[in-house]
């Protein structure tokens, strides 16, 4: 149970960063954190289904459910892509507005248009 509570706190930290922080880099950090929280949640869940690594061979019994691990590998890859894309956009926004603060960026771009 304690792991789940820690994970929930971890998730909420990330969510707080996305919603409440003004700095877009910190928002992207928040996105990465909630993504990691979910990845750990899946792995935690599947680890309770067995004891051995899911590599099939002679005499191997009681393996953990391999499916969540496969899913999370995919989710990690997607998360990295999205983070990279978001950082590239943050860079372009910084070049255009000279700041990372979402409100100042909005103001700067609004005045321009």
């Amino acid at each position: 149970m304690i792991e789940r509570i820690l994970l929930l706190i971890f998730f909420l930290i990330g969510f707080y960063a996305i919603i409440a922080r003004k700095n877009i880099i910190k928002k992207i950090f928040g996105l990465t954190i909630i993504n990691s929280a979910i990845v750990i949640l899946f792995i935690l869940e599947s680890s309770s289904t067995g004891t051995g690594a899911p590599i099939m061979g002679e005499g191997i019994r009681n393996i953990v459910d391999p499916l969540p691990q496969a899913l999370m590998l995919t989710a990690i890859v997607i998360g990295v892509c999205i983070t990279a894309l978001a950082l590239a956009m943050a860079f372009r926004l910084y070049k255009a507005a000279g700041t990372f603060s979402i409100e100042e960026i909005r103001k700067a771009l609004h005045d321009e248009s």
Binding site: I19, L67, L71, I78, L109
Partner: protein, 581 residues
Amino acid sequence: MMNPENIVFAPVVLPLLGAALAICGKAFFKGANTRRIEYTAAFIGLVLPWAALIYTLPLVFSGNPITGVIGNWNEGIGIMYRFDGLAWLVNLLGFAVGGAAWLYASGAGPRGSEFTSIFLIQTAALAATAMTADLFNLFVCLEVMGAASYVLVTYSKKPAAVLAAFSYLMVSAAAMIFFLIGLYGLYRITGVLSYQGLSEALRNLSGSESTTAIVSLSLITAAVAIRVAVMPLYGWLPDAHAMAPHAVSAVLSGVLIKTPLFALSRILVLMPQGAGAGELMGYAGAVTALVAVVIALSQKDAKRLLAYHSISQIGYVVCAWGAAIKIGVSTSLGLGLMTAAFLHALYHALFKGLLFITVGTTIDRTGSRDVYKLRGAISILRREGKEKFPVTFLCFLAGALAISAVPPFNGFASKTAITYALKGTWEYYFLTAAGIGTAASFIKLSRIYWPLKKEEAPQPPGQEAQGVTSFPALWGAELLLGLLCIASGLAAPAIYSLVTTLFAADGGITAGTVPAFYTLDNLIKTLVILVSGVAVFKLVDTGAGGTVLRVIRERPRSFQGLFMSFALGTATLAAWLLFYR
């Protein structure tokens, strides 16, 4: 090689092949050769899949959907797919509008191998979303589609487009993480991910498990609803669609917001709790149609006005779609509603694509996006856009008449089909009121083409008018969509019967009758709506009306608001399913 199991992957694999080819052409060749390879890639990715669609039509038409597991893995491990009438129709929508939009982009920009490549990846993701029958694969498809669309929005060089894409990315990536939480919940209680397996496992659950199932389903539905931009989850759309390059706006509004909706219908029709979720979304859709059109009427940016209309029109689609899910798609009433929903989705893709590219051409040539200031666009287009014959204006007119539901344009047919199926419910009155607002706001938008008064000087072209434009491709795309708007309006009974037969084949029932479109009642109703539209336009054109519109236009919008509305939407849906149903 030619067995249907391989052919159905062509709409996914061919665009991906094209995307790879375009990038390789950029990497290894120079100049004209790069362009030649890029055009070949676009041909492979956007034209060849039509052959696969034609080849598979007889199969899905006769009620033999092609199903299986990708790569012949065991069920339960591999990814299930299902290529049926629904998938076929969504592919039809995607490739029709995608092809026209790419043609427009090749004329008016953005151009280049990278653009073509990302555009093709997005098209492939659309096709994959339409045919997947696995929850995790749906997540992957939606993420790929989303990632491609964030990049495409930023192809407009304006920094505001990057901000719009960034907000879109943050809200939809965060929503997809909630989708994963929902998936976790369902996997935990059932241990399967295919729709078929989930549907069977969810039918016999204990009390606490069924609560988990409902919360998970709410998270998944809300995450997909963000992509569809139903109220209250629409906040990201106006900026992204208004700021994107015109060709991309056409695809985003035409195809990208509908594909997730029809992919979601696959889940909802199978789940025991799906009917309730569909019902609530249908109500949200009716409200969306009316509220978004009021906001649209207040806009002064021409493309933002169109973007709010996309929300309003998707409201029509979601309203009919939700009612169909509530009643059940294998009943004749539900079938009629689902057919009407898809018909409007298809027709909206055609006329909204057309509107985005014609209005886009106009604002490029005139350098102004302000509906209140821009006038005399026809003469500016003649001077700046080399249009001896007002192609852009006439195509705009076709699109505007279609969205205002004037016969014989296609919007009339699909809106008639929706109201015919919804007759007698409160949604009917909401949608009729939205129709009046639509007519009024398109009278407002068409003022940009009205001739100048003598004393007003014509405006100089703006920065956007610079750059090389290939006019034949641009006019070709406009004429293609314009003619499709008229042709699909005239052929509406035939298209309706095709769509309804395909959906009926999916549900294993016989197709219902085609409603009569051109009856005296419908024509009188259209006339009443148009006259009311003119009256509403006159009303908002007064001083007091202008003040009201300004208040609506300048209501505060924030980044946090997007997340708050997502949380609220999810909670409402879960509460609705838990306590009310």
